[in-house]
Symmetry: C2
Subunit: 301 residues, 2 copies
């Protein structure tokens, strides 16, 4: 079994009110695959990097057990670089720069070993690229995809076509509102279901997340963190943790998806505690289980 993650692998520069870090390991593919790796199933990462990408970073991913056969290194290219700055309350983020570099003409080809991978997470990317992965997969059991405002505004037709092919769409509250033009999140999520996904998961940052299907509603709490250092990658950690758990139990029942969303929440909570994937480097599974148990107690009534 296992999880296939398709996303970016980047060098990030992040500024918060207390600190600035430069060219640290980042990208949706990194956050999601590292999150998925905690659940002991094979994790495969599809992405592209340039010649400048530090081997210490790829070595870390390998140590984490992530299969990098699908991570292409372009010898005469430069890596994707992204810079962002957070305001005091971490809810506002300004993008300082986006240098696509090798990503701009990346056309991913699935290695044969990846084609039958059943659990697929398509991190935010152009709908065309996301669709091309779906078309190469031969035996997908669950296709989960993310998107963002840029694609909703610029590639709406391709995105609509993509949605007819995915099982689960994950997106932010503001993106759900943008996609539907409806400020009521519940109504927005229900409207997106009509485009094809069997489930829509709306991420609300510090307010948790919720999931809707035709017949179910699940409200997932956020983990109550008192120390936020860097929220970059929280959404992708959430999705990756979810996928890792689903792959480990090989089941897609409502019950499993709910537990998976909570595991995703927990892994994302660790991610936020430090820059890049620094906190994940030293997270034990017992710590993940412990926070899962805390959230169980936190919602019980």
């Amino acid at each position: 079994m296992g999880v296939l993650v398709v996303g970016t692998v980047t060098l990030d520069t992040v500024e918060t009110p207390s600190k600035r870090v430069e060219d640290v390991l980042g990208g949706s593919g990194v956050y999601a695959s590292v999150a998925a790796s905690f659940f002991k199933e094979p994790v495969q990462l599809i992405g592209v990097i340039g010649a400048d990408f530090p081997y210490t970073y790829t070595d870390f991913l390998k140590v984490q057990g992530i299969d990098l056969q699908g991570l292409k290194r372009v010898d005469d290219g430069k890596s994707f670089r992204w810079g962002g700055r957070y305001a005091e309350d971490f809810n506002v983020r300004d993008t300082l720069f986006t240098e696509l570099n090798v990503v701009s003409d990346f056309d991913p080809i699935l290695p044969d070993a990846y084609k039958e991978t059943p659990y697929i997470f398509l991190a935010n990317n152009s709908p065309a690229l996301q669709l091309s992965i779906i078309e190469q997969a031969t035996d997908p059991k669950l296709i989960v995809c993310d998107t963002m405002d840029f694609w909703i505004n610029e590639e709406r037709e391709a995105l609509d076509a993509l949605l007819a092919r995915v099982d689960v769409l994950i997106l932010n509250d503001s993106e759900a509102q943008l996609f539907t033009g409806d400020s009521n999140l519940m109504r927005a999520a229900q409207a997106i279901l009509r485009y094809g996904p069997k489930r829509v998961i709306v991420k609300k940052g510090e307010h948790g997340a919720f999931s809707v299907t035709e017949s179910s509603f699940f409200s997932a709490p956020a983990y109550p963190l008192t120390q936020v250092t860097d929220p970059t990658g929280a959404g992708d950690s959430f999705a990756g943790g979810m996928m890792g758990y689903i792959a480990s139990v090989r089941d897609m029942s409502e019950e499993t998806i709910r537990s998976a969303m909570i595991y995703g929440t927990v892994v994302a909570s660790f991610n936020i505690e430090d820059f890049s994937v620094n906190r994940q480097k030293c997270v034990e599974f017992s710590e993940i289980s412990s926070r899962y148990g805390e959230l169980q107690k936190a919602v019980r009534f």
Copy 2:
């Protein structure tokens, strides 16, 4: 047993993108006491109205079973009037006018029959007025109080003194941040505990609410409404529903408070479905129980 509610009884003008209503029944005392009345315990309301206050409104409160012995009618005065306008997404509200009228020099005296009432809700008011009620109560079992940005900014010293005397403080997320100067809500709530309340409940509107004590954390979901008509009074309905339930089970355990917060959430969800207390006029208790059950299912994992 029973619940004592101290709050405003007003004539509201509310504008939403789809409708405008004028001089409708409103006020924190009304929303809270109507919400509390669903739980079949005696509910007493302390407040003040002018000669212009329609008898149909006070008749409705009586029919709802609310004791109005403590509602003073000032024969040569005008009622408190408030006007507000909501933007499209209902998260932004502009106050159009506030005419305090009879409220400006209201100095409430508890009728003898109210002095021993065990469960006291002090809706948003000047800390001095809230404190005077506490000093008149002879046998309080639970004192819950609300406040707002105005008092945090203008009467901070009196508010600090009040907090040493209350069991539970209920406030909005933005008010918790203003009170502490801390944008992290969890840390803010924990900091407020140090002023005296044994429990702090933070309301987050469409994102639900949470409660912290020295040793517990509870995350309450919002009820997923697809039709919001008028959010005015949601916070007071939440608090009132909570108080009504607590009075009905005569217990203040963590378990009871959690259930009470969910009942408060449910009563508030009905309130939002129509202007004023129009929806509450026809809510059956079976509908409240039904939404309570839906929320139990919505958080289960």
